[in-house]
Amino acid sequence: MNRLELTGLTARPSQVWGGIRLVPLVRGTPVEGLRLHREVYAGSEGGVVEVGPRTHYTAYIPHGFVADWSGEGAGTAAYGTQLAAGGGAGSTPPSTLRLPRHRHHRMAKRQPGDRLRFLPLHLALEGYLSLHFGGPSTAWEEWSRQALRDGLSPRAEDAYLGWSVRGLGDALRVFEIHPGQCGVMVYAADALAAAFVVPHPEDYRLLHASLVQDLYGELVHQYAMYGAPVAAFGARIADGPGLDTLAGLRAAAREQEREWSEAHDTLFARELLDTSYSFDRVYRMGSFTLWRFLPPFLRNGAGQHIGETVTDHKGRVAYLKTFRLSEAQIRRGHLLRALDAADWQLARAAVALGATEEELVRRIRAAGFGTLLRARGGGPR
């Protein structure tokens, strides 16, 4: 598996608000056997995730997602943790209970019953942050002692909360959810900012508002801040033969809807759908698999997305959430990839990148990895 398959999802006409364009994705039939709902963590002191022995990951976590593949939640949408009596389906509405949870054990954690809790987008970010975390595998002389001992230092990436992406809150507020809608593509200044897909329309209705609490990259923030309002792609029926009857007019109107859907997949979402990703399996649950994926970090100017997804046994996407990397983030990923491919040998990596060794050293320093290199000849570190 190296590509995202959005089969079964159709793009419907976009809705525009200022510089934000939201493209609804509609499923004909919801994905069977998987439901997703939000678990709200009360208490704002921040969440602590135990990543490993004596290693903690501390963050402010507004909510987690709970994937339920037991099939019990097929009839109703769930909100919060549910305690249901053992009666037949639809007998009594299950009572809702929310428990404040301050300590999360692991990023993706199996919960009692056939449930999995994971923190939205943190999987994806974790995948990106720990890219070649181990540092040089071979002790070439250029690498500093610290790099060999500790690898890359724990790194930080900036991201913006959805609230601070200009216009996103309003765009989501005035957005009119389609019947059967299971996902949305968010564009800022017509650059794909995020894709969000859930298995069931009722899940989407619940999770629609959670998009403003998501992370967005700095590029998206800048585009939304400085971009001009984007044009709504209004329908245009060209004058032509066959428009003299109502049936002809209806056909032309249908054509407009179809054209938009095609244009979206081939034009707007191309960078997301045509890229081949490296997938990393995080968890298996029944016939569903939770993955995180990383882009190839190509420096061809196209947008690159990291993300996480749940696929069924046929590889179709049941859940998807992506995060668009900025240019600088792609550059860093690209550099690390190249170094790893060259077995951390600077000379080989420089050849592979088509640059001289001095230039490569400069690039490594510019990317913020200066501590990896040993100071040579008293030059600036």
């Binding site: 019947p179 709504a232 209004g234 329908a235 007019l249 109107a253 809807e257």
Partner: protein, 556 residues
């Protein structure tokens, strides 16, 4: 400093200068970007973007007879203003906030008042909403110097007639605004005096609108005693308002009840509800019991407003004691929509018959005269309105569908909701607005009239309705066998008007569904087939009707 002042002046001169007679204008909009937005928002304008030169004709106030380009633009501006004055209330809407709405409305009022003063005043005779009526009155009185003597006479009549129609709290608020703006000319004082003199019960006003009446009396030097014909009670009102505590007791029952209510719970029940509410809170009376006791003294709207708080309220039943048969159509529709769909379904017969009866009353002489009618009604998510105007667009659509059923020939009415709902009583604002395909569905029936009730946002895909209507008009039905009209309950702050679907389709702002027949009449002017002369004649007719009706005291 001098240099800076000069450079400031230079900036002003760089703006486009208006050639032609700008004298007599207190302000003209030389700010090109604003005007450009203003023009471009109406791309169908026959004149396109042009610099407006106020012609001597309507500055003098006579009716145009020759149709120049400027007249067409003027006629368009009039319709634009009327549409705004019907729909905009300066409150939050689904797509824009209250501040934007007010800012946009401020501009429009100033623009029309300066350029078309006669029309501005004449709008008072139309079915515009109370918010804009009060604003127009204020605008006319604040800038009295711009009007000629004859104009002032007409304005005076219009203002008096309109104030008589406005709810008293709005008029008192208007008086307060006039005082804050330091408007205190002879005409203003006369208008205030006449309006206060016409109030049926001065003592009731003194208790209920205490601050308002006090403010009006102080500002216009009103002699309060002359309204009281009771023997000896002439000075009481003045003492009540301006020297409270001077008289040990008042002969007037209501005034005395207000005095006693300060320390006696029994007197609270004798006061008007809103006044009693404050005293009840002060005495720590139980809210539910208090409301039950006050029911006979509440107005109809107060009864509606408090029904959920009363002890007898049951969430599973319709509130008792609400007379559905007397409510006006749109208000009834709003009331019906305030219930959950299950409840509406359970009381289907009762609610439907009430809506039908209200619609029959609203249709009046027009009933059954519209032939085959199809309607496209917007129940998309955006019809939920805003926190300040909850479900207003949806209620207008619901009221329209019942009204249109009465207006159409028997059995010749086809409603089409955008979500595909078939039961009007259970509509819920939800989903996108595929207006284009719904318009196509409606045209399939081959109606004589197609009425579209929508806020003008068409998003699945955007603009398809406009395209469908354009092709329909140009290719399939150029002889206009089907007349199409779009009524829009939402003011679009950015466009300075209600949003349009297509240039070829007349659009009218709507606030209450009851006005639909009158609005369709106005809307035909915007189609461009009837000229500005007819529009001005229509306005004059309306003014004459309004003023005479107001003078004779007829209910309008």
């Amino acid at each position: 400093m001098a240099g800076r002042a000069e450079s400031g002046g230079g900036a002003c001169e760089r703006a486009v200068t208006v050639t032609g007679p700008a004298a007599g204008l207190r302000c003209d909009f030389r700010d090109l970007p604003v005007k450009q937005i203003f023009r471009c928002s109406r791309p169908h304008s026959p004149a396109g973007f042009r610099l407006r030169v106020p012609s001597r004709g309507h500055h003098g106030g006579c009716i145009m007879t020759t149709e120049t380009l400027a007249d067409l633009v003027a006629a368009e501006d009039v319709l634009l203003f009327v549409n705004a004055a019907v729909t905009a209330t300066g409150q939050r809407e689904f797509h824009s906030g209250a501040y934007q709405q007010r800012l946009s409305l401020d501009f429009l009022h100033e623009y029309v008042r300066v350029n078309y003063r006669r029309v501005y005043a004449a709008s008072l005779a139309l079915d515009i909403n109370d918010h804009n009526a009060a604003r127009i009155v204020r605008g006319l009185l604040e800038c009295a110097g711009e009007a000629t003597a004859e104009e002032k006479r007409t304005e005076g009549l219009l203002i008096a007639a309109r104030l008589a129609k406005l709810p008293p709290q709005r008029v008192y608020r208007l008086f307060r605004e006039l005082r804050a703006a330091r408007v205190n000319n002879r005409r203003t004082r006369a208008i205030m005096r006449d309006w206060v003199a016409a109030r049926p019960d001065p003592a009731h006003d003194a208790v209920k609108y205490r601050a308002g009446l006090k403010n009006a009396a102080r500002h216009a030097h009103l002699p309060l005693r002359e309204h009281d014909h009771d023997r000896g009670s002439s000075c009481e009102l003045g003492d009540f308002l301006f020297r409270p505590g001077r008289l040990p007791r008042y002969r007037n029952q209501l005034l005395d009840a207000w005095r006693r209510a300060h320390y006696e719970q029994g007197a609270v029940g004798e006061l008007p509800f809103t006044v009693a509410e404050g005293f009840a809170a002060r005495h720590g009376m139980k809210r539910e019991a208090f409301l039950e006791r006050m029911v006979p003294r509440m107005t109809r709207l107060e009864r509606l407003r408090t029904q959920g708080q009363r002890a007898t309220a049951d969430a599973r039943e319709l509130p008792a004691g609400v007379d559905l048969t007397v409510m006006p159509l749109t208000r009834l529709a709003l009331y019906v929509l305030s219930f959950r769909p299950e409840l509406r379904g359970r009381h289907r017969e009762e609610l439907t018959s009430a809506l039908r009866a209200a619609a029959r009353r609203a249709a009046g002489p027009h009933a059954g005269s519209w032939g085959r009618v199809a309607a496209v009604l917007d129940d998309s998510y955006s019809s939920s309105g805003s926190g300040e105007k909850r479900r207003r667009p949806l209620a207008v659509a619901l009221a329209c569908t019942f009204l249109l059923e009465e207006l159409a020939a028997p059995g010749a009415y086809t409603p089409l909701w955008t979500t595909g709902a078939t039961d009007p009583l259970l509509v819920v604002p939800r989903g996108p607005t595929p207006l284009g395909s719904r318009v196509l569905d409606a045209l399939e029936y081959g109606p004589d009239r197609l009425v579209i009730v929508s806020d003008g946002w068409d998003n699945a895909p955007a603009g398809l309705a406009g395209e469908v209507l354009r092709v329909w008009r140009t290719r399939i039905d150029p002889d206009r066998r089907t007349s199409v009209v779009h009524v829009n309950p939402v003011y679009d702050a950015a466009g300075f008007e209600v949003r349009r679907l297509a240039p070829s389709v007349p659009t009218a702002g709507i606030r209450d569904a009851e006005d639909l027949p009158a609005l369709v009449e106005i809307a035909q002017f915007s189609e461009g087939r009837t000229g500005p002369a007819a529009l001005h004649a229509y306005l004059d007719r309306q003014v004459a009707r309004f003023v005479t009706a107001g003078q004779e005291g007829d209910p309008l």
